[in-house]
């Protein structure tokens, strides 16, 4: 297998008494698209959000185990959470623009990380909007409120916003599920074009989407890692009976 970018070791996550992830150990390869699949409530989003420590914000959560990103344990006490999150771009399920202009949405991240020069910010904004395939649509109205964009445009704006802090990893939490088919397809294409530069980890409950995009598959069931490997192998001949059943659509 390729060089792992994220290495999860014995990860356990508890929400109060409910164990959302049970002893998960898995490697996520660099600059590939890895899809986390599995039925609702299996811990997909929990696993994804443990990569950027957004899971810390959940009340009453207990986390044990290690997650190495580029060899560094992001759960070690001396790690700066904001630095961890800066390296992990998030594309949420629902596009969630910040209450500011299109320009400021993209510039928000670089600004809080200390970039003040106007020309530099202009450049970042333009570059990231380009990468997110939104530049042509918004270049004449960068000062307009982000909330005036269509849902699909908003999601691409969120992608541009995430790219602006120069992350190494993109985390996508069912990022196309709230979009219309055309917008969803655009976002999928963008993800494919970005995988050369970023490690992409996506959660999806749409198997066809995983087939279209993923290089690697992680199958979770009831908080346990059931099977994991190259997408082709998992889809063609899954070893575990539960994976087989899920892929055949016996349950979803």
């Amino acid at each position: 297998m390729l060089k792992p970018h994220i290495s999860v070791q014995n990860l356990n996550v508890l929400y109060g008494d409910h164990q959302a992830l049970k002893d998960v150990t898995v490697d996520i390869p660099e600059k590939q698209i890895t899809a986390i699949i599995g039925p609702s409530g299996c811990g997909k989003t929990t696993l994804l959000k443990s990569f950027n420590r957004l899971i810390d914000l959940v009340e009453g959560v207990k986390i044990s185990g290690t997650i190495l990103v580029g060899g560094v344990n992001i759960y070690s006490v001396d790690v700066d959470v904001t630095e961890v999150r800066k390296r992990m771009g998030l594309l949420a399920q629902k596009p969630c623009p910040l209450p500011m202009s299109i320009y400021d949405n993209v510039a928000y991240g670089p600004k809080i990380h200390g970039i003040k020069k106007r020309e530099e910010l202009d450049q970042i904004v333009q570059h990231c909007l380009h990468s997110a395939g939104l530049w042509e649509e918004v270049k004449d109205r960068l000062k307009a409120p982000a909330s005036r964009l269509s849902l699909g445009q908003q999601q691409r704006l969120c992608l541009a916003r995430a790219l602006a802090v120069e992350p190494q990893v993109l985390l996508c939490d069912e990022a196309t599920s709230a979009l219309d088919p055309v917008s969803a397809q655009r976002v999928e294409k963008l993800l494919l074009s970005l995988k050369g530069d970023y490690t992409v980890v996506m959660v999806t409950h749409v198997l066809r989407q995983a087939r279209r995009l993923a290089d690697y598959i992680i199958f979770l069931y009831m908080g346990e890692l059931v099977e994991y490997g190259p997408a082709e192998k998992i889809f063609k001949n899954p070893k575990n009976s539960r994976t087989q059943a899920y892929i055949k659509g016996v349950f979803s």
Binding site: T82, M88, A92, L98, P99, H113
Partner: protein, 282 residues
């Protein structure tokens, strides 16, 4: 008729009556104030301070009370705002569901229901203790205390409505809690924050009991924070209390002025809100 349809009709009728009562009483109040106040209202009344004649003026105007009220309510609103916003943000965003936050909310609710005369008496007691006279400063502090719970609770409600996903978007970019609260939460809550400020201002400018002993009353326009200050509600109170019908009519004119100030502020702030909140995500 079918029993369920009858039920529906009766209930609709009852609701309509209630609404009629609410709208009707508002219109009646405004109507009475206008009918009785407008004839007594004159340019002189708006531009001059009281001039002799009967107590509180047969001659001259109520400029002292207009300016005084604006100073006092403006000052109190500004002071209350400076305290309220951090309190509201803290109990929502930092304290969360902790005991401290619950206790703060309970305290504010209790404060809210304390009658304004009690705030007045409390302010007066403190001022006596400090050896202060009735003054603009005393009035500002007392009224700020009076409107503080209104402002905080109103802000608290809007800050709570902000979706977790929005804050998450900010955290995911590596923002700290402070950055998220100041740059995202406050912006998103801006319309509600402005409403809270306006609500508090309206309550502050309209209250008589809390300023009676703390701000005092005077014929003049205060020139420092330590001068006593006249207010419109007290002007109305004193004018109505005189045995002279002419002066009593001036009380209604003062009421018109007070009502117009509040209405103007509501309208201006509505327009302002639209402009300021262009970027809010709905």
């Amino acid at each position: 008729m079918d029993r369920r349809k009858l039920e529906e009709a009766i209930f609709k009728g009852l609701m309509f009556c209630s609404i009629f009562l609410v709208v009707g009483s508002l219109l009646t109040i405004i109507g009475v104030v206008l009918i009785k106040g407008l004839p007594a209202l004159s340019i002189q009344m708006l531009t001059q301070i009281p001039q002799g004649g009967y107590y509180l003026g047969k001659e001259g105007g109520i400029l002292n009370a207009i300016v005084g009220s604006l100073y006092l309510a403006g000052g109190a609103t500004a002071l209350a705002f400076v305290i309220s916003l951090p309190v509201a943000l803290y109990i929502e965003e930092y304290a969360g569901r902790s005991k401290l936050a619950d206790f703060a909310r309970l305290s504010l609710d209790v404060l809210w229901s304390v009658p304004s005369i009690v705030f007045g008496a409390f302010g007066f007691a403190i001022m006596t203790f400090l050896g202060m006279r009735a003054s603009l400063l005393g009035g500002i502090v007392t009224v700020a205390l009076l409107i503080l719970p209104i402002m905080v609770r109103a802000m608290d409600e809007v800050v709570r409505m902000i979706s977790f996903e929005l804050k998450e978007s900010s955290y995911a970019l590596g923002a700290t809690k402070f950055e998220t609260v100041v740059k995202v939460v406050v912006r998103q809550a801006l319309p509600g924050i402005l409403t809270a400020v306006l609500l508090a201002f309206g309550r502050g400018i309209g209250d008589a009991a809390s300023v009676l002993f703390t701000a005092g009353y005077t014929d003049r326009i205060p020139s420092s924070l330590f001068d006593p200050v006249a207010t419109l509600p007290l002007a109305i109170l004193f004018q109505l209390g005189t045995p002279f019908p002419e002066v009593q009519n001036r009380a209604y004119a003062s009421a018109v002025v007070l009502t117009v100030i509040i209405l103007t502020l509501s309208i201006v702030s509505r327009l302002l809100t639209k402009k300021l909140t262009k970027y809010v995500v709905r």
